[in-house]
Amino acid sequence: MSAASVHSSLVRNLLGAMTFIGAAGSAGVYFSVGRERFWVNWLVWTLFLLTLGLGNLFLVALERLVGAHWSVPMRRVPERIASLIPLAIVLLLVAFFGVPVIFPWTYPAAAHNPILVAKTPWLNLPFFAIRLAVCATVWMLFYRFYVRGSLRQDVSKDPVFTVRARRLAPLFMVVFFFSVTILAFDWISGLEPEWYSDMLGVYLFAGTFISGIAAMLVGVLALRRGGRLPEVQAKHVYNLGTLGLAFTVFFAYIGFAQYLLIWYANLPEEVIWFKHRIEGAWQPVALLLPLLNFFIPFFLLIGGLGKKHPATLRIAAFSILLGHFVDLYWLIFPVLGPVPLFGWPELAMACFFLGLGWLQIRRAMGRGADMPVGDPLLVKGLEWQL
């Protein structure tokens, strides 16, 4: 056994142990702390993994759509991170058991609430399940199409797949925006069904997009440091950093736009959602959001130097990833009460889900070459000049 494979199996065992301890802790949460807290944690982490996966699938499709060359040498990274999608879909299906526990529109009392009664055509369990099934199917189909197809192309070198992938990309975009909007409305707004914001779908999409870029950056930097992407040069990573910079601004813009409109209109049924999230004990969490998702990555990446140094890129990427978790936590956890809960139950469930996700990505790392060697655009991508 070589030193590298010993190291690799050690990491795998450690990750397995972390996941196992996390699973035991999660069971403890379910039976001793409370089912609400368990399912809310479950939802946050499932959405975290799902949005990372979807964000990276989106990056893959975006590259196909616009016909970008520069990202082709790095495309195997988002394709591998997209393997979180099947895992997260399973977790989301499990979360369906938690729907009657944490979603107020399923409670018997909802029948006496005129607002919720008016919303029953949308908020009822059969339709909810249908939407979940449709979204999951669509995600799986596109995941299999893009990721499996790209892996097959490694061997077959068939340029036809590149053409078909580009043709299907516009369809993916439409389906993707609808499905992410449904995801946001069903699984996040649904927790406080009297509240609504058209913007939340776009908001979740923006978070998905920047956290996808951040995860891809972390992956590319890690592979480059491990010497596994020798032909990917600093200019490729530089461009990825530029994309990240642009979309931190997009996220800040969307997030602030939602807040500004609700703040301005000052309608009680809308404002209450923000009041629960930006006042009192939640205020520090709310302040973390622009800091982690905008100010830190923006000022790290705005200059040319920041996008050339792996260290600054890594800090920016981790800031966004942490910011994305804080974002989901801030969106979902306030249903548990006016004080942010963070203790051993959260840590245990974090261990479980992060371990699971990491193991899944490691499994995907084994599949195919580190670069899409069958893609006819790869040469152009390697020769691409900033």
Partner: protein, 377 residues
Amino acid sequence: MSSGTFAVLGLYSEAEKIVDAANQIRPHKLGRLEAYTPYPVHGLDRAIGLEPSRLGRLVMLMGVMGAGLALLFEWWVSAVDYPLVTSGKPLFSWQAFVPVMFEVTVLFATFTAGMAMLFALNKLPFFGHPVLHSKAIKDITRDKLALSIEATSAAFDVEAAHQALIDSGAESVEIVPVPTWDRPLSLVGLLRTIAAIVAACVVAGAGLYAAEKLMPIVPPMIHMEDQPKLNAFRESSFFPDGRGMRPAVAGTVARGHLPPAFATPEEAGTLLSNPLPLIQAIAERGRKVFGDHCAICHGTVGNGVPLLSRAYGGKPGNFLSNEIRARPDGHYFGVLMLGKNAMPSYAADLDNDDRWAAVHYIRILQRAQNAKDEDLP
């Protein structure tokens, strides 16, 4: 400077060749390298030794300044100079300021980028470049790429530059002379430009004035003063009687001015009692009403000694007298509504709450002026 030479120009037909040539010539430091290409060539900027632009830092600086100035200005306008509460929000509502800050940031940043690029870094205006008068310019604008070595010092060696370009693989080499005109921007030209701008302003202004004054305003355009709305004391075709102003509906009662249900103060005394609680805020209001309306005749302590000149001659009531003290609250209210002797009615000047607050205050004065030992704390 070798007399009359602006630069030596070499022509190439492939992008790779011009990059290689520039890389080959640059170390010799013959003069400033410049390239003219019909399309962008990757790597050429570095090959001719172009430094990374300073524009980015400048734009960042001005952008941050724009954001700061916008915030400062909005704060000063909204919270200091003209504080105006809008829909119950705080005067300093940073949320409302952000869009303006954003716009001003973009404005400052883009203007800086454009202006600094044009005027500071590229040194425009620049009427006519010597290379435009070279024989090669037709090829450059079509399919050839040109590398030029510009004469930057007296030590510029035309022969060496010529040879260097040929050695680097240039297909043809041309010596571009310094243009024969010496001042591209003449005083006459400048004056003509200014005159043209002034003339354009005059024509545009006169045209707008004529359009406003002479041309009819056709619906849907209307003059602002002709809005379809009712104005006070104006006629209106909307109502049959042709008047814009309408009388109040019969039986309308203004807020706080419920008409009296009594004919005399004595009757009021038997019918009414003070509905307001005796609390600090009410007493303060009563003090204000009393000071504004009552004290001028009844005196600041209510003893009937007027502040006005003795020449006034009237005999205002003394609230401290036993006779008046004995009257019920409603009586005071009735007098305020109906007036008494020389005192006019205050029905229109005060509202009901003002009157009852004043009654409370009068009671306070009476007690203060007739204090007993038990009243000491």
